[in-house]
Amino acid sequence: MTRILNIELRRSAALGTALILFVTGVLLLATDRAIFTTGWIQLAMTQRLYLAVLWPLALAAGAWQASREHRSKVAELFASTPRPQAHRVLPTLIAMAVAVLSGYLTMGIAGGLWIIGTAEYLPVAAFAVTAVGVLALIAAVWFGLAIGRLLPWRVTAPALGIAGMGLLLLIPGATRPHGWLALVFSPIYEMNMPGAYAAVPGRASIAQTLWLAALAVTALVLLASSGWRTRMAALLPVALGAALAITVMPHQNRFVNDAIDPVARELTCTEDAPRVCVSRIHSGLLTEVTAPAREGLAVLAKLPNAPTTVHEDTTIYFPDSYPPRRADTVLLDVETGDDAHLADRTDVWMKVVAGAFASPPDCEMSVDPADRIAAAHWLIGSEPAKASEDFEPEDSERAVQLWNDLRRLPADKAKARVVALRQAAVNCTADIGLFSKSTP
């Protein structure tokens, strides 16, 4: 059996399948790296998203492999041998499962090598999400084998691949407005562009496992069967798996999209002052954030009651949750870039300075972004950029105007206006702008 398995690993479609999955997967990952560079769970979820392509490929690979006996016209010869059909397919089943497993995992390793320098937080959920992805591919390749044996034609493999992709794309529409149903049956659903604090609840993974395992068992029953009666029996595991999965999955839309990993969102800080803190998911970026963040704090030190610490802005929406606001703390958006390092490294200190003029998010009278940019650049002593990723273009343009106005004022008057703006931001009384009437 091991001997035959070795032969099948070398000579069946297994090697080609693993290679195709790996190459396709890596190319997909490379198209938009910023989606997965944040961390391990983001990588695992992005791999799951790309099952949109890999899953149909596995289906087609299984169907192609299953047509081998038909293509090679060995039915006559094999019919004279004692070994039952169910035994005969076993090495092929294992070889193809090993193939999709290695294709998917090496794709994950390639993505992992890209982020390994900065990705530190490794939640258990990342393994669960990957395991469900592997199971989805095994179910697909086995199901492909079963269908390919029933319909051993050349057209079966491409047709099954296209049908599989169509199915994945149609599931969300077909189940609307019951998004949770799509989550049961589609391994790619709600895996799109995970946020920094994304989580995949265990119950979702368990429900998906039940469904996919049922699909795999159905394929096995189909492969072992010889008559139409046993083939009808294959419907049993599918029905049972679907029922179980539907029971286990919470009947709640956006179940994964709304899930937040509180541990990923906790802050980890520098030990020395001035303190700089980032969320655990970004802990690998802390050293990259610290230096420019402290430069920003140094610039702000000119202000009375200047902020002394920088925290990552861990605000989330649905449900809204803001980090506590303190006058001594500047909140900073931290994002991972394409290269798995801190995005916009050169802008960090400017963002810290501008962050000192930001109002709390629940404040109804927040500071005009143009005022923030102008005040920050007056402190830094450089002209604001005409365009920036962090602000709207018209805000950037007005900021240049405001900055010029500030510069024309005597230094002490300008400083007074900047200090007043900072006070207004902290106190949430920002109907007062840099040049509104009530400021001196």
Partner: protein, 266 residues
């Protein structure tokens, strides 16, 4: 050297390796074997007959690929009908179909080992048995070549190697000499004589010369019925000076067929 199982050393309890009584087998809708009585034991049996005589259908039913429609068929003392568990008999069969299907990406050795596995040989016996079978057909130098790279004659020999890998008690070869050059045919006759020492070998062929040279027994069928069973010398004796053919055996073949057709026309 190889391990000999208890089953192999046990005395045979059946008089004939292949025994058919009133056998009827369908090829599609057509009754290609129609009331055949045949008994064969140890030795090399040459199966002769014109195209459409039912040779291949007979081979396929003996290989347990086709189920008999009627009559009795016993292989190695086991009854072969619709309900029987054929696994025991099939373990002791070797079969080279007329259309030999194979996996083109496998090497010769891999394919022979794969077939040994399908024949449920003991795991430890497989590598040695495969090597021996490949050597016996003279393909040792090509053992690591992919099946798809073999020439027609080599493929035929690979087909024979897979058929004999399990040292079958019943070896069925459907036109094994197609594609072999004269030298290879001579080697093949030697192999047949070897195999015929302790197995029942049935070789279907159009080459009457092969039968005379290598077979201990001649079986001739036409229109699904037995025409003649006897020794090659007996076949030769049937022919007279006036019968068509370039050799005594061919003249005997023509004479038998003509007598049979004349008899059937009555």
């Amino acid at each position: 050297m190889r391990t000999v199982s208890a089953a192999e050393t046990a005395p045979t309890t059946y008089p004939w390796a292949i025994h058919a009584e009133g056998l009827r087998v369908r090829a599609g809708r057509h009754l290609a074997i129609d009331g055949l009585d045949l008994a064969m034991g140890i030795g090399v049996h040459g199966l002769l007959g014109p195209n459409g005589a039912g040779k291949t259908t007979l081979m396929r039913s003996l290989a347990t690929v086709l189920k008999p429609a009627d009559g009795r068929l016993t292989l190695l003392g086991e009854s072969v009908d619709g309900r029987a568990d054929l696994r025991k008999v099939r373990r002791r069969l070797g079969y080279l179909p007329q259309q030999f299907g194979f996996y083109p990406r496998f090497t010769v050795r891999e394919f022979v080992e794969y077939m040994a596995w399908l024949k449920e040989m003991p795991k430890t016996a497989v590598p040695g048995a495969a090597q021996r079978a490949i050597e016996r057909v003279g393909l040792a130098a090509k053992a690591e070549a992919r099946m798809k790279t073999l020439s027609g004659g080599m493929l035929r020999r690979a087909g024979i190697a897979q058929a004999i890998v399990n040292d079958p008690a019943v070896l069925l070869l459907d036109e094994p000499t197609v594609g072999l050059d004269p030298e290879q045919r001579l080697d093949f006759r030697g192999l047949l004589r070897d195999m015929g020492v302790d197995s029942c070998v049935l070789v279907s062929t159009h080459l009457v010369e092969d039968v005379v040279a290598a077979c201990t027994d001649v079986v001739m069928v036409n229109e699904g019925r037995l025409v003649y069973q006897g020794t090659p010398d007996g076949l030769v004796a049937q022919g007279g000076e006036g019968d068509p053919g370039d050799s005594p055996a061919e003249r005997g073949y023509s004479a038998l067929l003509r007598h049979y057709r004349a008899g059937a026309g009555k």
